[in-house]
């Protein structure tokens, strides 16, 4: 337990000591949101959305997921650095269970991602969204589960790779499609049939759907998963990723 907490604390201290990382994680998605949202907003109307809803508002939930997706997963790159710089070797020979190491590392990285997501969530009012206290609470819960699951995915990949370049290459293979096909950029209902299947199988879709339900109930399409279904899917994803992490980290390999 104390091992988990100490690894968690370490990641957070490291993050806040690294100013460029704090700024770099938050500012680009905001710029991205404004540019894409404003640009597409003039030419695209969200199918099935009520009158008066701007694309910027529709795109808000997607941007929130984008922030958590990128910062959570890229925070796990620290595992590769820990291995290369040697810190990890001393953790692995300490009397600490692999589960504690996984939880400490995953919680550390997902807290970093979540902190940035929550900072962006505070801007919801500026985007013209007024979800109320309940809406914010649901949104925070969705983001928490999503960031744990996504960090777990990053952990599994980072654990087996030994270069951060490789990590970037592999993660781009996952990240962009996972985000594109999540309903973040266009509503699932408007997509062709085969894409709808992919969207339904993509855990990130449930983060987007959950956030839309929490923040912007007006855009939720008919047939979209309920809040409970979203939370259940995200919790299952997080649990599955934790198990995968422990399995991956339990291998005593030659490195």
């Amino acid at each position: 337990m104390s091992a988990m907490l100490t690894l968690w604390e370490r990641d957070i201290v490291r993050f806040f000591r690294d100013r460029p990382r704090v700024i770099g994680g938050l500012v680009p998605p905001i710029v991205f949101w404004l540019l894409i949202g404003a640009g597409l907003g003039t030419s695209v109307r969200v199918p099935g959305a009520p009158e008066g809803l701007s694309f910027l508002q529709f795109f808000y939930a997607g941007t929130l997921v984008l922030i958590v997706l990128f910062t959570s997963i890229f925070a796990t790159i620290s595992i590769i650095e820990d291995r290369r710089e040697g810190f990890l070797q001393s953790v692995l020979v300490a009397p600490v269970s692999r589960l504690s190491i996984v939880l400490g590392k995953v919680l550390g990285s997902s807290t970093v991602g979540l902190a940035q997501g929550l900072a962006f969530l505070l801007l919801a009012g500026a985007a013209g969204l007024h979800p109320g206290p309940h809406g914010y609470a649901w949104a925070a819960l969705v983001l928490t589960l999503a960031s744990i699951g996504l960090t777990g995915l990053g952990f599994c990949i980072a654990w087996v790779l030994d270069s951060s370049q490789g990590f970037h290459a592999v993660m781009n293979l996952f990240l962009i499609p996972m985000w594109m096909l999540s309903g973040a950029l266009f509503p699932a209902a408007a997509a062709p049939r085969f894409l709808q299947i992919v969207i339904a199988a993509n855990p990130v879709s449930y983060a987007v759907a959950g956030l839309q339900r929490a923040l912007l109930p007006a855009v939720v399409a008919e047939g979209a998963p309920s809040m409970n279904a979203c939370l259940a899917a995200l919790a299952a994803f997080a649990a599955a990723m934790m198990i995968a992490c422990v399995l991956v980290a339990s291998r005593r390999d030659a490195r």
Partner: protein
């Protein structure tokens, strides 16, 4: 002790429980490192050859996290950290980021970190790598002080003088222990003195020495080496037997390097070059 590439670090990592051997068994304090590595870990203090500190954290923060991983917390941890900081003369640098420290200081932090939980067995992999002579001397004084307090210290080295400071030395070559014993016993096995001969025609001379004295020196490049009891008496005979053909003859007490050569059949430097 052994040349680079001899298997020292692999053995170290098996004993530190970070690597599973392909075969064989290993126990420390009666605990099976292969079947149940977790049972041995609380008793081990491990100092890796490559640094294991977090350079973005301060010296004190590194010690705090290191101690917590070994189950220390609260006042107990603070007291131990302060003890270690003063013992290893780090107190003035406790608030500095590890990335800003010199190599010698960082090694002292590593040592302090690995000793917080008072391990019974301290494992070190080439601890003097990258240290200047003064820092190396300092490190060994700390190691010998720990030994005096009752800890068992197991270190790898490829430096002869470090081997000489140990109670027991195992000589590793190409993954095998070729000899093991106290440094004195390993040297005594050579049975006398080491005579080194330099000559222009080393291999021709070797055959003639064999014919004349019934002993075959080992040849390395332009050098011949002989191990012989009462070498001081043998050298005059040798010089008289081959007038003008020897460029230099020297007599020395056996060193661990000679013990390596005796058992591994090659010179330490050649083994390093081959690795």
């Amino acid at each position: 002790m052994g040349p680079n590439g001899g298997g020292k670090s692999t053995l170290f990592r098996i004993l530190a429980t970070s690597l599973s051997p392909t075969s064989g068994s290993a126990t420390i304090l009666g605990r099976d490192l292969i079947a149940d590595p977790a049972s041995a870990r609380p008793f081990l203090g491990v100092v890796f050859q490559s640094p294991s500190l977090d350079n973005k954290l301060t010296v004190r923060e590194n010690l705090v996290h290191g101690g917590r991983l070994y189950g220390l917390s609260g006042t107990n941890l603070t007291v131990r950290i302060n003890e270690m900081l003063s013992r290893y003369r780090l107190a003035a640098r406790a608030g500095d980021l590890c990335g800003t420290l010199s190599g010698g200081l960082r090694r002292r932090v590593e040592l302090a970190k690995s000793l917080l939980h008072k391990p019974k067995v301290v494992l070190l992999d080439e601890p003097s790598t990258g240290l200047d002579p003064a820092a190396r001397q300092d490190l060994w004084e700390h190691l010998l002080a720990l030994k005096a307090e009752g800890a068992t210290i197991l270190t790898t080295t490829h430096l002869m003088d470090e081997g000489d400071r140990c109670d027991r030395v195992a000589i590793l070559d190409q993954g095998k222990i070729v000899a093991m014993g106290t440094p004195a016993a390993l040297k005594a096995e050579i049975g006398g003195d080491v005579i080194t001969i330099e000559a222009d025609d080393a291999s021709g001379l070797r055959d003639e020495i064999t014919k004349r004295f019934g002993v075959t020196p080992r040849a390395f490049g332009g050098q011949l080496r002989l191990e012989r009891a009462s070498g001081h008496a043998f050298i005059p005979q040798l010089v008289e037997a081959f007038p003008g053909r020897l460029r230099a003859v020297s007599l020395s007490r056996p060193s661990l390097e000679d013990a390596f050569l005796h058992h591994a059949g090659r010179r330490f430097a050649d083994a390093e070059a081959a690795a």
